[in-house]
Amino acid sequence: MNIKALPLRHRFWTPNVAVLLFFMASGVVFAYFRFFHGFASVTNLNPAYPFGIWIAFDVACGVALAAGGFTTAAIVEIFGRHKYHALVRPAILTAFIGYFLVGLAVFFDLGKYYNIWHALVYWNGTSVLFEVAWCVMLYLTVLAIENLPNVIEQFRGKVALPGFLSGLNGPTDWLLGKADGFCRRTMAFFVIAGVVLSFGHQSSLGTMMLIAPYKLHELWYTPLSPLLFLTSAVSVGIPMVVFEGTLAAKFFGRKPETELLAGIAKYIPLFLGTYLLLRLGDLAYRGVLATAFDGSLQGNAFLLEFALFAVPYFVLKRRRSRQNPTLLFLCSLSVICAVVLNRFNVFLIGMDMGPEYSYFPSVGEWAITFAFIAFGVLLYKIGVNYLPILEEEH
């Protein structure tokens, strides 16, 4: 409990960073064409598939995979499981980076990106997207506030701005002190607000495609979709924490937090079980289970999605498999893939907008998506390197 989080202060310029920068640079090249020569010059989007991988992955999956933030915060701060305290800061930081990138991705995907602020001014309450936009904006703000203590802890009392800015040292420090007081008094409010806002927009993403009853495949067109999106997002929260924790330990050469991760992993089958129960119940109630076995692309995509959800549930139910780091990592990866495939199914694969068009992401779309992922990893590296995110090894 009294272990202190510290900045890693590793060497920043490593070969891995060069790889990340390469991906980002290639994304920038395609972004130039997207912004100055139209969508047609980069994407394979067409009248029947107005939403492509930028929405399906960068936004829909991005939001779901950032769920590690609110699930960990809820388990530790709200439900009082303080022994997992070491997992909160990295999870909150990752969530912040995730939502920041979602915002950035939306900017790339909007035709009139300079009108993005219209969501603040022109309200259309009947639009699901309106609700999603507001929740994401508010939650991003909440996440920024939740990350503020890290910055304060690092810089308060030792603000040393370079050169002529040094005159601002005093005021900056005073500001940090004020922010510190504010955070201490109000953090509980923001922690709960973060969870409620997450509930709101995670479920609303599930409502989005319900406006297209004649286009979305019946395996995914269900009034329960909001609840399924919420429960699957909750299910993927801890697997994301495991995934990031394992990779961070490997790449930063730290001792893996095996015990901690194995401990918190006991919630995964609980959440997954809830989700699977709802999913199966819904399919059975609506009587559409048979269509999963008709051999169509959609049917097979559903079977794969379901298997990716169900296998880790059964594996992780056993305490012994949770304590096996490799198995735990693979199961977490499976849940992550399951959620990604589920979002793809709802936003792309399950959408049939007529026989005249098909869609597969172009090289440029992939490049920009990879650039976002690389940017996210880089931001995480910067974060843990210069801010007290990861706790000292013990």
Binding site: D109, N115, F130, E131, V196
Partner: protein, 308 residues
């Protein structure tokens, strides 16, 4: 540990349950929007259409739309020689298509924005850039639009089109000639030029009467159904078809009589009804947090272990 675990499950179930009720409660049917008597519309009689495409030409002229060719002359010659659009697009607001497979009788049918009574695009638009006008047209405001293309997903007829080739793209679709002609007391451009009387312009309520009269006068020609009177909650553009040609075969979906936005709107309405569900979830979580913090505090005073 066992007790607290059970408690955790119980509390979790309570919180989850209340959220579930908020979301999954039987979606309350929203009051169906009724068509207003002054709304204009069009009646497309597919039994009369001869496929001359004069309406397409008139539409392009009226809206100053570029010609489209499937032959690719633009690359070779620098301009289009033929206007041969294959589908609705940002350059083509209306399209005549021939339907009828194999030996089947061929039918020409016109496609354009249906100007729905309860438009899905208007329900979906995040900023309200698409609106139902007082004259019945579904109007698009490019200045408000963010270019998210959710309207394209929402429209059951896949009408709104995006300018994929422009750096700053807008949505384009049939305007019912609302600003260029309706406001000057003139009928739509396509209806004005139709040589076969296949397109009738007028008040929607009048058009339904005309359609009904045509069916009654020639039941051997017409299928006894006015498409768009009820479909997706009613459309401003209505259709008649030949007795043995189903509307579905003409690209007009076999849709329910309720607006497609009914489900999303009632779910949204449920989740945010007077903000009760979010506030309830907030209160429950706050209560759990306070309870756990007090317990931790008490444990601390009694010198108990922090890791209770």
């Amino acid at each position: 540990m066992d007790i607290s675990r059970r408690k955790f499950l119980k509390i979790g179930a309570a919180a989850g349950g209340s959220a579930a009720c908020a979301v999954a409660a039987k979606a309350e049917a929203r009051n169906a929007r009724q068509p207003e008597p002054q709304w204009y519309g069009m009646l497309n009689d597919s039994t009369r259409c001869i496929g001359c495409k004069a309406c397409m030409v008139a539409c392009k002229k009226e809206n100053k739309l570029e010609a489209e060719s499937t032959l690719g002359e633009k690359e070779a010659l620098g301009e289009q020689l033929y206007d041969a659009p294959r589908a609705l697009s940002e350059h083509t607001y209306t399209l005549i298509k021939m339907h009828g497979e194999g030996e089947q009788e061929k039918t020409f049918v016109k496609a354009q924005c249906m100007h729905c009574v309860d438009p899905a695009c208007a329900s979906a638009c995040i900023v309200g850039a698409l609106k139902k006008e007082d004259n019945g047209a579904v109007k698009y405001d490019a200045g408000m639009c963010m270019g998210c293309r959710y309207c394209m997903v929402a429209c059951p007829y896949s009408v709104p089109q995006f300018e994929w080739h422009r750096a700053i793209p807008s949505i384009r679709k049939c305007t019912l000639c609302s600003e260029t002609r309706l406001e000057k007391g003139k009928p739509t451009a396509c209806a004005g030029v139709c040589p076969a009387g296949a397109i009738t312009f007028g008040r929607r309520s009048e058009l339904i009467k005309i359609a009904r009269a045509r069916i009654d006068a020639a039941p051997e020609i017409y299928l006894d159904h006015i498409y768009g009177e009820q479909e997706v909650g009613g459309t401003g553009v209505l259709y008649l078809t030949k007795k043995y040609v189903a509307f579905a075969g003409l690209g007009l979906g076999d849709f329910d009589y309720k607006p497609v936005s009914g489900l999303t709107e009632s779910i949204q309405h449920r989740i945010f009804q007077y903000f009760i569900p979010p506030i309830a979830v907030y209160s429950i979580l706050g209560g759990i947090m306070a309870y756990n913090q007090r317990r931790k505090h008490n444990a601390g005073i009694e010198g108990g272990d922090d890791e209770y």
